[in-house]
Symmetry: C2
């Protein structure tokens, strides 16, 4: 199965070759020059330093405009097909870093329409309800309500639809087929949908009444939507949206993406702390079959999901992370200990998040984009 | 060209064989039994008697439900690509007869999105502006504001979109291709659009909170949209919409459909009376090359657009119409006289309509479907 993988907005599977994706999608790797430049605006986010946010489109241009005094806005989102898990939180946390660093307004889209159209088993009520569940997690992360606006597609459609029409008129079925892999059996709502995901790229400009740069932090799997949008933007008189792409957050069972379809591989923000701990204690590691063996040969942090969790989110100290790597390789630390420290970190995080998530219920209206 | 014609929601051309359409679309001819039954609810409309409204789906069922005490609502609409002409007014006048006869609520849809998506030369602003122009003509016809609600797609999209999604999820590109003749070069907005035209079939049921029969009076060219909608309705738990189809209103130059692309063939409700008269005086008739010739051989009312106008709308008296036909055939009446009486009728109608159209400007809000 080596080398076989699939990355589309609706399916991520296999061993992802992220370098190949950059080539295939025609994006640009984030290089040292860009990292050095970004470090000037504030301390670099660990996800940038560690190459989890690793690919981009037009980020230099966004910074040029910013330096020239032109404020950009952020746009990201979520397809509400189920409860929020850590894999969703990661890019949102990164988005918050961008908001804090650049004082950038954020438009956050919840695509209840998409998840309804693309999932046979979900009703529109399911995805709408889940959109409300998910936005609590967004709010809980501490975005600034003065410059953060959340939209649920079916509730904000009167603003999105006219923009979506402008986009849709310029995309042929040929293009949609080539980019998204649609065929004759695809439903006509799914075919149209990319226009709705494109619309918020321009909503900041529309509401401001003047053209404003838009920066989209998102998973690399979402790039196809914006590749198409970028082709059309100039025709519509808008700037092309810029992007920062992150790799997929790993699953607890050693797979490349934390996925809702494997509950044990996934930590939901709504999981009781006990369950969180249980899931981590049964995570896939790079450990050997026995303690003796591991003391002798060492672990394999490069394939270990516990190590990956620390690398992605839960060990911000670079030195501590490097130490852990070395000690694991040398067999100085066993998987049990390592799982326990990760479980402690995540449980602490989740308990705090759940308090904030509860408090978010009173703040929903403050964050919703209405009129 | 005999026998070559095309009838789709976006193109009507050639010599239309209306009998063949019934067969091709799988509709039912309105037969004498149905006419007799409809006559019991009130005097038959001339368009029914004369076979202009000639085809149907499930009309007997609508009357069965009505007889059982279940009220149906009406749904029709207009694609606002230009000013309203007589060809548009005809089915609306018929719709008013249905409203008056059955006290049926009417939902009237203005598809500004459709006309934008299907016309390269129209902006969304163009079609939205034209929607407002067109709805003045609807109001001017005297519909009851208490039971008549007008919706412009882009303004009422927050109610239409969730219904459209339900429809869109159940239509594959295969089906859309087969029914509407789409191909790889069709834009993805056009592909999705039929879902938006389907949505009002269910809006009456949605707003009432219970299933209600829907009857759509419309041109036979619009049937494909509703053929698809009817297939899906039961899956969504709604009644299949019923239909009454009219033939196309003829052009003044002898063609089968009054078309905005031939301005001289078309009488707009906004035309100054002088221009209306001029257009009619230069209409295509079945007349001979000279007065002498016509006195001798007679005219050809069966191909004469002046006769057709009287037949379709402007001579309601069956006996007077039959007389005219006979006298024309015998060469007793010349085209000039005939044009003059038609011009008098239409100018009288248009002058009156324009006064009501002006007054309609103050009634717009009363008719708009909002919230």
């Amino acid at each position: 199965m080596d080398g076989e993988f699939k990355v589309t907005p609706w399916e991520v599977s296999g061993d992802i070759d992220y370098d190949l994706l950059v080539e295939k999608f025609g994006t640009k790797r984030i290089d040292q020059a860009l990292l050095d430049r970004m470090a000037k605006y504030g301390e670099l986010h660990p996800l940038l330093k560690r190459g989890v946010v690793y690919s981009q489109r037009d980020m230099e241009w966004v910074l040029d405009r910013y330096d020239a005094g032109e404020r950009f806005y952020l746009y990201t989102g979520r397809g509400p097909s189920g409860h929020t898990h850590l894999g969703h939180l990661m890019p949102w946390m990164f988005t918050k870093y961008l908001q804090d660093t650049f004082r950038a307004p954020l438009y956050f889209q919840l695509t209840d329409d998409e998840k309804f159209l693309f999932n046979d088993n979900l009703t529109l009520k399911d995805t709408r309800d889940m959109a409300y569940q998910n936005l609590l997690d967004v709010i809980a992360l501490g975005f600034d309500p003065k410059i953060t606006k959340i939209m649920i597609d079916t509730e904000y459609i009167h603003h999105l639809y006219p923009l979506a029409l402008q986009v849709a008129k310029r995309i042929t079925f040929s293009t949609a087929k080539a980019v998204f892999g649609f065929d004759n059996s695809t439903n006509i709502g799914s075919i149209f949908y990319t226009s709705i995901q494109a619309a918020p790229c321009f909503i900041g400009s529309e509401l401001a009444g003047k053209n404003a740069p838009c920066l989209i932090p998102c998973g690399i799997d979402q790039d196809p939507h914006f590749r198409v949008t970028r082709d059309i933007a100039p025709v519509l008189g808008y700037y092309k949206p810029a992007l920062l792409h992150n790799k997929m957050f790993p699953g607890l069972q050693g797979t490349d993406k934390m996925s809702s379809s494997q509950p044990n591989s996934t930590i939901y923000t709504t999981d009781p702390p006990k369950l969180v701990r249980k899931k981590i204690m049964s995570a896939f590691t790079g450990g050997a079959v026995s303690v003796e063996e591991q003391r002798k040969t060492g672990g394999k942090p490069e394939v270990c999901s516990v190590y990956k969790y620390k690398f992605y989110l839960f060990e911000k100290d670079d030195k501590a992370l490097a130490d852990l790597y070395d000690r694991c390789k040398k067999g100085e630390i066993l998987c049990g200990e390592c799982k326990k420290t990760l479980a402690d970190s995540i449980v602490t995080f989740i308990e705090d998040h759940q308090v904030k998530r509860e408090a978010a219920k009173d703040k929903v209206e403050e964050f919703m984009l209405r009129d």
